[in-house]
Symmetry: C2
Subunit: 376 residues, 2 copies
């Protein structure tokens, strides 16, 4: 939904005559440093509204970590192009860069409003009720677990591990509980990476479900670790944010197969979980646009140094309004899945979490089946 925020920025900027040009930097910071800009007022409305629906980032993004030199060069480029407002979209790493730029611009006496626009499927930004991107990724994986669950139910005798995005936080994997509409629907086991998962416990849990139902579907986060802090012997990629298993679902399937002698396999939708164009949550999409528009308004009001936040209205029916939070209170901090929303049982999420996430994910319709339950 990142492009929905971009479209919101473009749309709002067009309304304000004081904004003469809106530059888009191709591939994020890399594009700024290369002065690889496009004029975002050029494309017609039809194109922008189609871009708003496209997955990934239409402008492009980069893995480039900004050095102090990069930041200084960025501000020089901004000065040269008379850039007065800077909108930066991303997660807590991007908000850190935005925060540094804001501080540096103030030091240099540059008139620049830096406004952060939240976007991370990981839902781990502080100060906001939730993050654009989360609802759609959660919706993808809830739908995926529902559909793989239907497959596992119709052809039992197998354990399925489904690897879910979300690095070290359980926000997305927890939302796979929306896949269920009947008792014994998949996922039968959901593990949150905030707690280490001893292999023996996993095997016990899987065995118990399998003995009862003759089938088992497990939702596991890509960042899940065992009791020794290792990813169950999976191959890993080491990054600045810790290491991430590359083939965890497969590795767990192999372990279940070896230890329990049960047929098992792993699925890894992987990046499809953040790019699938068919699984966008409608509230997520609308709110992403709202954040983009609000960022422009905040910039024009001189409220730079902040990130736009989403605040839930205090009323029974779900509604949100936008707010602002200082970038330094968001930068690099990580919002963990609340301890009080966890549960001791590996198949239950607390009602408080379900109430929180349901409007973000949207309704996941159940699949019809014959009245009686198959006997397995």
């Amino acid at each position: 939904v990142l492009n929905a925020s971009l479209a919101g920025v473009i749309d709002e900027c067009r309304k304000h005559a004081e904004i003469g040009t809106l530059y888009g930097a191709r591939f994020g910071l890399t594009g700024i440093l290369r002065e690889d800009f496009i004029n975002l007022f050029d494309p017609d409305e039809e194109t922008i509204s189609r871009i708003a629906r496209a997955p990934a980032s239409a402008l492009g993004t980069s893995r480039h970590a900004a050095s102090q030199d990069d930041l200084i060069r960025t501000l020089e480029i901004f000065r040269r192009h008379n850039v007065r407002y800077f909108f930066y979209t991303g997660g807590n790493g991007s908000m850190c860069t935005a925060c540094q730029l804001d501080l540096l611009a103030r030091e240099m006496g540059l008139e620049l409003q830096v406004v952060g626009i939240p976007k991370t499927i990981d839902n781990d930004l502080m100060e906001t009720d939730h993050c654009p991107g989360y609802g759609s990724a959660a919706r993808f994986f809830a739908s995926a677990l529902r559909d793989i669950g239907a497959d596992n139910r119709s052809l039992p005798g197998q354990v399925e591990f489904v690897e879910v995005l979300g690095r070290n936080t359980g926000w997305i994997v927890a939302a796979t509980s929306f896949a269920r509409s009947r008792e014994d629907d998949a996922p039968h086991l959901i593990y949150l990476p905030e707690s280490p998962l001893p292999l023996d416990q996993l095997l016990d849990d899987v065995d118990r479900v399998y003995q009862r139902l003759g089938r088992c579907v497990v939702a596991v986060c890509e960042g899940q670790l065992d009791e020794t802090g290792q990813p169950f012997g999976a191959d890993v990629r080491v990054s600045s944010r810790g290491f991430l298993a590359m083939n965890l679902a497969h590795r767990l399937a192999v372990l279940v197969n070896e230890r329990l002698k049960i047929r098992a396999r792993g699925e890894k939708p992987g990046l499809l979980g953040r790019s699938s164009a068919l699984n966008v949550s409608s509230s997520d999409w609308l709110e992403a646009g709202l954040c983009g528009r609000h960022a422009v308004i905040a910039g024009l009001r001189g409220q730079g140094g902040n990130m736009v936040t989403l605040m839930r209205d205090d009323q029974p029916e779900y509604a949100v309004h936008t707010g602002l939070a200082p970038l330094h209170r968001v930068a690099l901090r990580e919002r963990a899945f609340p301890v009080e929303w966890r549960s001791n049982a590996p198949h239950k999420l607390s009602p408080a979490f379900l109430e929180y996430a349901a409007p973000l994910v949207g309704e996941i319709s159940n699949h019809a089946s014959f009245p009686e339950e198959p006997s397995g």
Copy 2:
């Protein structure tokens, strides 16, 4: 779309007063042998029309390979329940069972019409233009490659391997070419498992694309083998149909990473590719229903011993009609991807294939982007 065929059978049977009861066997042959039947005339039309839209098999299926004893018991059970028509849905293995049952029933002088209903995402049944199930699985993977391609384009510097279903035949992986709408769109490389793929060739191909674009997306079939007939060192599961890699995409990503020193990862949507409820091709769904209805009509006409086929009308605009083919001409035979539709280049499919598959897959809309091409 298997449930669409089931709904077609139910709907057609309801029209014929001579059919008093329609049994559905839970979990296929297993259900017959356990006499675990449900009366398919019980659910109301609303339920049936919802079941018609559900993925996987609402009745359930099994991996049980029928022995001669099983077949004899099946016919005894049919005799006891006065079963006169038997509709069996599946691929070439199922059609073999149907064929054996048909021959045995004739030997035993049983009045039984055995009619096969084609359904396999692998599209490898003989005698039919294409198989229900194929269009939707092809549509899933074409959409997946388009969306992962958008992700790879917006965040370059990485090679993506996407593992595609289809065992030993290239029908599905070939259809990922519908993901492309512009030059340099993903997938940049498509390999058909009908040809062995030397690792050195793969590395050369990937390197060439990566040097040119700074990114690369590869569609590879789960049954792809290297020049030694091995799956590149991936873990395998051995089955009656040969061995199947369990983590091929990941394994190839590791090899690219090690040999070319390029960041790489693998995605494996796996069973989601055959169960995703959001990626059903509309022609596929309609034709599956047609096959179900036509099976009933064939049975009532005494045309047992056949499988329903889909025949393409000889006219410019796509249209199909149903036909019949003897089960023994379908059983256990496998329709390979035509040699003349292959291409020497690992990124091009022949126009003849594209023309064949386009109406089965349906239109895959492209994602909007900014006019200029990002410079990578």
